[in-house]
């Protein structure tokens, strides 16, 4: 509550967006956005569930137990529930209605089995798929429910299964156990009942968090027997899904203790660094926050899904129109002919119009195959197969972590081929999120990468690979005092926690950067060994010394630095400070000897690189390319001594190599730098300052600002020691992937919670930004948008709505632009903030009717303005080649994605690895999670997951493109084949009195979609590839067909339908011509209905199977087998069904006895079939050939030159070795954006040796609690 109020006020106060802070926490907006329970008085909400005294067994009944259930069906409910589920789909319902229609004898025009058999197959396939899914869920549930932990029963801890745990149970957890339910931490083996947990499963953050038990429970609930008799009473909030909020009260021993999220261990966390802990179960099973968070998966559908549905509706309308037309025809025919045809007398005196009406339904049934019954199930099967191909892809398998790619949803594959925008998280997605101490600059001397032997140092952990012997010499000799000082500072100035296990030191850092620095110091001989609340012990090159810590001036995002004030054993007081170069420079002593050198090291300018190059240009210019390839290998064999960079100049040959000595230059692409400095403080000066410090730290209002001010006073006149550089390494292949994707016309937006500088830095590193990119920041954008708004308003007026929006670019064309915008600016620009304010205002004064109307009006105006502004912003951002949003909250990430989704109508993909990306992943059309890290939440809510960012190019350019092409081809063919098949009935009706006579045998209608034409198209949908995966990756331009919906749209759909219509005409009218007069070879008349049906059916089967053969561009033996197999199957089944034997068994079910053998004996009929097939297919071939010759598509061209390209491949790949980025000046700082453990350290609660009064600030919210303890 308190914190919220505070942030709101600050929010309203500052008028200018602050680039550094993350605008607001997600929860605040959640209150606004999600309509949760109205804010009733807290009191009313409180007594909702209780965990009462555990000794009373009868009260346990009816409590939620801890078993979880994610499965949908059990043995008995499977059939009814699954059928119910399936009939909720419109398509299935449609076929059910058809089936019912068919049972009405007056209108039944087809045998009952024609629809039933395919329908059952469709239902069956779907049911089997659901069953397999559900069985997997059953297994998973069982595995989790049967995990064990210790629960107090009858006064003793006993092993119990998770599912047996109930609310109110006291449980014991050991180190590395998963927490089975949401529990209240009662006590732990650690001092003050501290308990470390890793919340990776919940929010993806891998650094440890600490939870602390209440003082009272810590004191009295350590022993088994005391735990067994614990009789507290807890009131708490309703189960909800907020991970970081908990409110409740513990009533015990006639006192009440407030509970907050710091006392709660959530299900899914892992206990770390704590031998054991005890807890009381508060929420179990489905009530836990983790379970409340899961299962809310939004059902995503693809663009093609929507399109397909509309097409099915279109077809349905066509079906109704056709049926109605034919019904009218029938009524007319009956009136003209039928009524006079005595032989048709039906015994009923129905009027022609009534007969027409009946025939309408009859035709609905006959023509029902226009809407393909197996369409949906086939689409599902294809997508399932494509998903498996993704799972199986070895080139997306990350061997190091044994993580294969995984398609977690099987319904979105073809959408992968249509991506326009990618929204990427930075940390852990683009970068590895592993910090390594790379280089340092001490006293102006740069120590860089040279292999160093750390064996002289007993504390070396053997993990740091640092390459500079000279530095070691410097440390060991001690000639240069600054060097030792430098590493001492690293060892002392931090908020890292240490944990000593079997003589092994384990550091727990709030940010990986800090951990890397302390580990580096340890490897260089300055090992941080232990700390108490006010001492810190360092091993300095083997000698242990303990320093008294006088103050920790913690990091925050304004200060961008942290300092520590220590008293040396000798009694000197020193301040050590590390921080971002910009803030440190301001605070340096004027007489700073090494400032310039250090600055130079940080400011490696482009010009100097070029100068270094000049002398070598001449040499490289004249080298043949082959030679250069060769030379590169030679250089590489020199090891790390030289770095090579490629500069592309518009000369011939276009590639000029730039060489420089890697040691000369400090900042390389992804180094996060930090300046270190120190100062000596006089005793008197310190005492004075300390008084102010004490006063500030107990200030009741604006404590943080007061502290900052005090800190500022002491952090001045610093003496620069040097700088460190930590590498936040990019994942492998990130720049290549990004350039590939942007060549495929995919725009990449980076959304990160990181700072602007870091984000910009990464932008350069992954070549999203280049030196010739003009970068626009929030201010520029705001100005641009402002003028645009003004213009629009001026132009607008009354007629604004009628003027079509003209698209005018924000920027002049040409040139490369990038947008870097922070979360605060984003709010400013998108007017998020203002609505928030007005909301608050509104809540405060709702008065008269008049006023209310005014308010709604102004609200509407504001909405319109906001929309306009958003539209403008999206337009503007989309003009930029790259967009980087930094300092954005998870909510904003989702908002940005949503904006693009809404205003650009483009397909979006979000990729991320952490819990903060979940919103965005769920919002985007396709969410991709980076797996293989500890955190699983992003992966759990994603649609696809894999281990490395670089696999994205394969997922999109290969799998996505193939899936899209396959699906489009599949759908086009599917509509075609059903039209070709069904419309023959239509043409035939002109010759049979519109009587709904079918042109085929009933069995043929039954099996056509099921057996005779399904397999080849399914296989094409699974296996087809126009160009190989290598070529797909090499020519990203091929990807645009999907983005522009070129392969499946309404035009293509109608072309397919037209193709189907023409084919059906040919299929009917050529046999018709042939049958007009004919008689058989032996004089018998083969012009009977059954022979006619067989002729058309045979021609149809051959035509559609050859047609799919033409459509297939990747003929494997399976395809060939299926195509010829389908034709063979048709003839085989037909001859069986027309055989004497089956007729003797079922005379009325198989009426076509002998037709196949009699009809297909006639050469005349074969000639008819051949002609029909030829007329159907030859024009297709001609048109394809002509269009390929006249307007060859990109893919056609590449296919044409497949061989030549393959030969080139080798050569190209070697050339790629050279492509590396220019190194440029980038500076950043090495803090994560959350405060460290300073509060905890100064609180002293984690320190074993002695208890100290709790005057250290733990958190604002614990004030109440402190009072309780003290009382």
């Amino acid at each position: 509550m308190n914190t919220e109020r505070e942030s709101e006020t600050t929010f309203e106060e500052d008028s200018q967006p602050n680039d550094e802070v993350v605008p607001y926490s997600d929860d605040e907006t959640e209150d606004d956005l999600e309509d949760q329970e109205p804010a009733v008085e807290p009191e009313q909400n409180r007594v909702n569930r209780e965990a009462e005294e555990i000794q009373e067994p009868f009260k346990k009944e009816g409590r939620q137990n801890n078993a979880i259930k994610t499965y949908k069906y059990n043995v008995f409910t499977f059939l009814p529930l699954n059928l119910l589920e399936q009939f909720k789909r419109a398509a299935n319902l449609y076929f059910l209605i058809l089936l019912i229609l068919q049972t009405i004898p007056q209108i039944s025009t087809l045998a009952w089995y024609t629809t039933l058999v395919p329908f059952l197959v469709v239902l069956g396939v779907t049911a089997i798929k659901d069953l397999v899914d559900d069985v997997a869920r059953h297994k998973m549930d069982k595995e989790i429910n049967n995990r064990t932990c210790e629960v107090i029963k009858d006064g003793r801890f006993k092993i119990a299964k998770w599912k047996e745990i109930q609310v109110g149970d006291v449980i014991r957890l050991k180190k590395n156990d998963f927490v089975p339910a949401d529990i209240l931490l009662l006590s732990s083996s650690e001092p003050n009942s501290l308990c470390y947990v890793e919340t990776a499963e919940l929010d993806g953050e891998t650094n440890l968090k600490f939870k602390m038990a209440l003082e009272i429970t810590h004191q009295y609930l350590q022993k088994e027997n005391s735990l067994a008799t614990f009789d507290g009473f807890i009131e708490c909030e309703e189960p909800n899904n907020r991970l970081d909020k908990f409110t409740g009260t513990l009533f015990w021993r006639k006192t009440s203790f407030p509970l907050d999220a710091d006392r709660i261990l959530l299900r899914g966390c892992v206990i770390r660094n704590t031998d054991f802990c005890h807890g009381l179960v508060i929420f179990a099973g489905a009530d836990t926050k983790m379970m409340k968070n899961s299962g809310k998966t939004r059902f995503k559908r693809t663009k093609i899904d929507y399109l397909m549905n509309y097409m099915v509706y279109t077809i349905f309308v066509v079906l109704i129109l056709l049926s109605a037309g034919l019904a009218i025809g029938h009524a007319y025919w009956e009136a003209q002919v039928g009524n006079y045809s005595w032989y048709l007398y039906s015994g009923e005196d129905a009027t022609p119009s009534y007969r027409g009406f009946l025939n309408f339904w009859g035709y609905i049934i006959v023509l029902n195959t226009l809407v393909p019954i197996s369409l949906y199930v086939s689409v599902e099967v294809i997508r399932l197969g494509q998903s498996h191909f993704i799972n199986w892809d070895l080139q997306m398998y990350y061997a190091e972590k044994d993580t294969p790619a995984k398609a977690r949803t099987t319904t979105l594959n073809e959408q992968l081929g249509q991506i326009h925008y990618i929204f990427s998280d930075k940390t852990g997605t683009l970068t590895q999120n592993i910090m390594t101490f790379k280089k340092c600059c001490i006293n102006g001397h740069i120590y860089g990468p040279k292999q160093v032997d750390f064996s002289w140092n007993m504390y070396a952990d053997g993990k740091l690979a640092f390459y500079d012997h000279y530095l070691i010499e410097q440390i060991q000799s001690g000639k240069e005092p600054g060097v030792r000082q430098f590493f001492f500072l690293l060892a002392v100035c931090h908020t890292v926690m240490v944990d000593r296990l079997d003589g092994q030191l384990n550091y727990q850092a709030a940010s990986p950067d800090e951990g890397a620095l302390v580990s580096a110091a340890r490897n260089f001989g300055f090992a941080f060994l232990a700390r108490t609340q006010n001492t810190i012990t360092i091993s300095e090159l083997g000698t242990e010394r303990t320093y008294k810590v006088l103050a920790i001036l913690d990091f925050n995002s304004d200060r961008k630095r942290m300092s520590i004030i220590v008293r040396t054993p000798e009694g000197n007081i020193r301040l050590y400070c590390k921080g971002a170069d910009t803030v440190i420079y301001e605070r340096l002593h004027r007489m700073n000897p090494t400032k310039q050198e250090t600055q130079d090291a940080l400011d490696v300018s482009l010009t100097s690189t070029l100068c270094a190059t000049d002398s070598k240009l001449g040499f490289w210019d004249y080298l043949e390319l082959e030679w250069k390839l060769h030379f590169d290998l030679i250089l590489q064999s020199f090891g790390m001594l030289l770095e090579i960079s490629v500069l592309e100049l518009p000369t011939n040959p276009p590639i000029v190599l730039v060489l420089y000595d890697g040691n000369e230059i400090f900042a390389s692409e992804t180094l996060r730098t930090l300046c270190l400095c120190y100062k000596e403080i006089e005793e008197k000066e310190f005492q004075e300052w300390n008084k102010k410090f004490m006063a500030a730290s107990i200030a009741s209002t604006n404590r943080d600002e007061a502290l900052d001010k005090v800190y500022e006073e002491i952090e001045k006149d610093l003496i620069l020691l040097g700088a460190t550089a930590i590498e936040d390494r990019l994942q492998d292949g990130v720049p290549e992937t990004i350039s590939k994707l942007s060549k495929a016309d995919i725009k990449i937006w980076v959304l990160t919670g990181d700072k602007k500088e870091t984000a910009e830095n990464i932008g350069f590193a992954c070549e999203l930004l280049t030196e010739d990119t003009t970068i626009c920041y929030g201010e520029d954008i705001n100005a641009l948008l402002h003028t645009r708004m003004e213009n629009q308003r001026n132009r607008g007026g009354v007629y604004a709505k009628f003027v079509p929006p003209v698209h005018e670019p924000f920027f002049p064309t040409g040139g490369n632009r990038a947008l870097i915008i922070t979360g605060s600016w984003l709010n400013e620009i998108l007017l998020e903030k203002k609505t928030k304010k007005s909301n608050i205002l509104k809540l405060k004064f709702p008065r008269t009717e008049e006023e209310r109307r005014m308010r709604t009006q102004s609200k509407r105006r504001l909405e319109a303005k906001k929309e306009q502004q958003q539209q403008n912003f999206v337009d503007l951002a989309c003009e930029c080649s790259a967009v980087i949003c930094c300092r954005v909250t998870p909510k904003q990430k989702a908002m940005v994605v949503d904006l693009v989704k809404r205003y650009k109508k483009a397909i979006t993909l979000a990729i991320g690895d952490g819990a903060n990306d979940v919103n965005m992943i769920k919002t985007a059309h396709i969410g991709v999670g980076i797996s293989g890290q500890e955190g699983m939440q992003a992966v759990m809510s994603s649609d696809y997951s894999f281990a490395q960012f670089r696999y994205l190019q394969r997922l999109l350019l290969v799998h996505g493109r193939w899936s899209y092409i396959r699906m489009c081809k599949f759908l086009r063919y599917f509509f075609y084949k059903n039209f070709a098949f069904t419309l023959v009935h239509f043409w035939y009706s002109f010759f049979n009195g519109y009587s709904a006579q079918t042109a085929y045998e009933d069995w043929f209608i039954t099996l056509y979609n099921l057996l005779y034409s399904s397999l080849p198209v399914l296989l094409m949908g699974l296996l087809d590839q126009d160009v190989s995966d290598k070529l797909s990756l090499r020519f990203p331009g091929l990807y645009v067909v999907g983005q522009r919906d070129l392969l499946f749209n309404y035009r293509r759909f109608f072309v397919s339908l037209l193709h189907g219509v023409l084919t059906s005409m040919i299929l009917f009218f050529i046999p018709l011509g042939a049958y007009l007069q004919t008689v058989g070879q032996d004089g018998e008349a083969p012009s009977d209905y059954q022979s006619f049906a067989v002729t058309i059916a045979s021609a149809l089967i051959i035509t559609v199977n050859f047609q799919i053969g033409l459509d297939t561009s990747y003929w494997t033996f399976v395809n060939a087998f299926s195509i010829f197999g389908s034709i063979a199957l048709y003839f085989g089944i037909m001859f069986d069904f027309h055989s004497a034997g089956i007729h003797v068994l079922f005379p009325s079910a198989f009426q076509f006895t002998g037709t196949a053998s009699n009809a297909l004996r006639q050469p005349y009929i074969w000639l008819t079939i051949i002609l029909t097939v030829a007329v159907c297919l030859l024009p297709v071939i001609a048109i394809r050939f002509l269009s390929m010759t006249i307007w060859p598509s990109e893919s056609d061209k590449i296919q044409k030159h497949r061989k030549r390209l393959k030969a080139e491949e080798q050569w190209k790949r070697r050339q790629n070795v050279f492509r590396r980025g220019m190194s440029t000046r980038r500076s950043a700082y090495a803090f994560s954006h959350q405060p460290g453990y300073a509060d905890l350290i100064s609180s002293g609660r984690s320190i074993r040796k002695k208890r100290s009064p709790l005057d250290g600030v733990i958190a604002d919210g614990t004030a109440e609690y402190r009072r309780t303890v003290e009382s």
């Binding site: 294969p404 008689v1079 004089g1083 008349a1085 050469p1163 005349y1164 030859l1178 001609a1182």
Partner: protein, 353 residues
């Protein structure tokens, strides 16, 4: 093998050609070297076939006569007029005289043709009981519902054969007489009426019910003939192999036609002197005129036709082949021209790239 097995991660996908989508495949391209020869060859082949079909169709002789008697054009108009509006029409006969100046090359087939007769009308087409026709005694007594309104007679007896198709059995009959010399006597030309149905129909699909005491009539006892029939089904012929459900006229009729204009085989002329064809001379066809067609505007025709390897006379297919073949060749040339024209341009494009 073993080393890879040990080095593999637990979740590593299989490295097979199928899972990696590397199945060996043939990727045919619709190149000029395939398309152009295809069109030229197909065109030539089709023209060849078309010529063959055309000439063999032209070589077939046909002689047809419309005996509906609509406008008093023939002597059957008397019968037609007599039958007008009366049901059942009275027995009537008429004749068609024709002469052949030369030998009508045999074997000669005699067909009747009906026009505007919708045997392919759906409800007409299903109005039969195949179980009954295949001789199942149960179905004989209980005809299928599809047969309605010809399922049960007015007296409530099951109709055998039931249904509208059987009821509308074509019941005109023809006999052919030949006058060798002018003024000479007419000699009856033997008509072979047995081999006119499909073997499978005659032997499999249509079976008489099991005889009762060796009598077919007793087997059909308790059934009624279709209302339009003058004779019960077991009396259709005196030949025991051609009566009942296996009467060939009946079997031929029951094989419904695809289109509203259809021919059905009536008889073959292949016996005695007529095995080589019909010699020159005058002929008379005696027609028993029973079947009413004028009510629905239909026509009845009688046709003598010879046969070639491709069946009867039908110029459609030959012409269609010729047309398609020529179009193929034409298209082939168009494609060739386009190919030559654009090939250069494409090459230039690539050079520019």
């Amino acid at each position: 093998m073993t080393w890879s097995a040990t080095a593999r991660g637990a979740h590593q996908p299989d490295n097979t050609a199928f899972t990696q989508q590397r199945l060996p495949a043939w990727q045919p391209l619709l190149s000029a070297s395939i398309a152009l020869p295809l069109f030229f060859c197909a065109g030539l082949a089709f023209i060849g076939l078309g010529l063959g079909l055309y000439y063999s169709s032209n070589g077939i002789k046909e002689l047809e006569y419309d005996y509906t008697g609509d406008l008093g054009t023939s002597n059957c108009s008397v019968c037609a007029a007599a039958g007008q509006g009366r049901s059942p029409p009275p027995r009537c006969s008429c004749a068609w005289y024709f002469s052949l100046p030369e030998l009508f090359q045999g074997p000669v087939y005699l067909y009747y043709e009906l026009t505007n007769f919708y045997q392919n009308y759906r409800r007409y087409g299903v109005s039969r009981d195949d179980e009954q026709l295949s001789g199942l005694p149960s179905a004989l007594r209980h005809p299928a519902n599809e047969c309605a309104p010809y399922q049960l007679s007015a007296a409530g007896l099951p109709i055998a054969p039931c249904g509208a198709i059987a009821n509308s059995l074509f019941n005109d009959s023809f006999s052919l007489w030949h006058q060798r010399r002018a003024g000479g006597p007419y000699v009856e030309v033997p008509l072979d009426r047995t081999g006119i149905a499909w073997w499978t129909d005659y032997h499999v699909k249509f079976r008489n019910p099991p005889l009762v005491n060796g009598s077919l009539a007793l087997a059909f006892q308790g059934t009624a003939p279709p209302p339009n029939w003058h004779r019960p089904v077991y009396d259709l012929s005196t030949d025991p192999n051609n009566t009942g459900f296996i009467n060939q006229d009946f079997v031929v009729w029951m094989r419904t036609a695809a289109l509203p204009t259809f021919r059905k085989l009536y008889a073959r002329i292949r016996q005695g002197n007529y095995s080589t064809g019909l010699p020159r001379g005058a002929y008379r066809v005696n027609i028993t005129y029973n079947y009413p067609v004028r009510a629905f505007g239909g026509h009845k025709l009688i046709i003598f036709s010879s046969i070639s390897w491709m069946g009867g006379k039908n110029p459609f297919l030959g012409i269609a082949y010729l047309v398609v073949g020529s179009l193929c060749i034409l298209m082939g040339f168009v494609m060739l021209v386009v190919y030559i024209r654009y090939q250069d341009q494409n090459d230039e494009d690539e050079d520019e790239e």
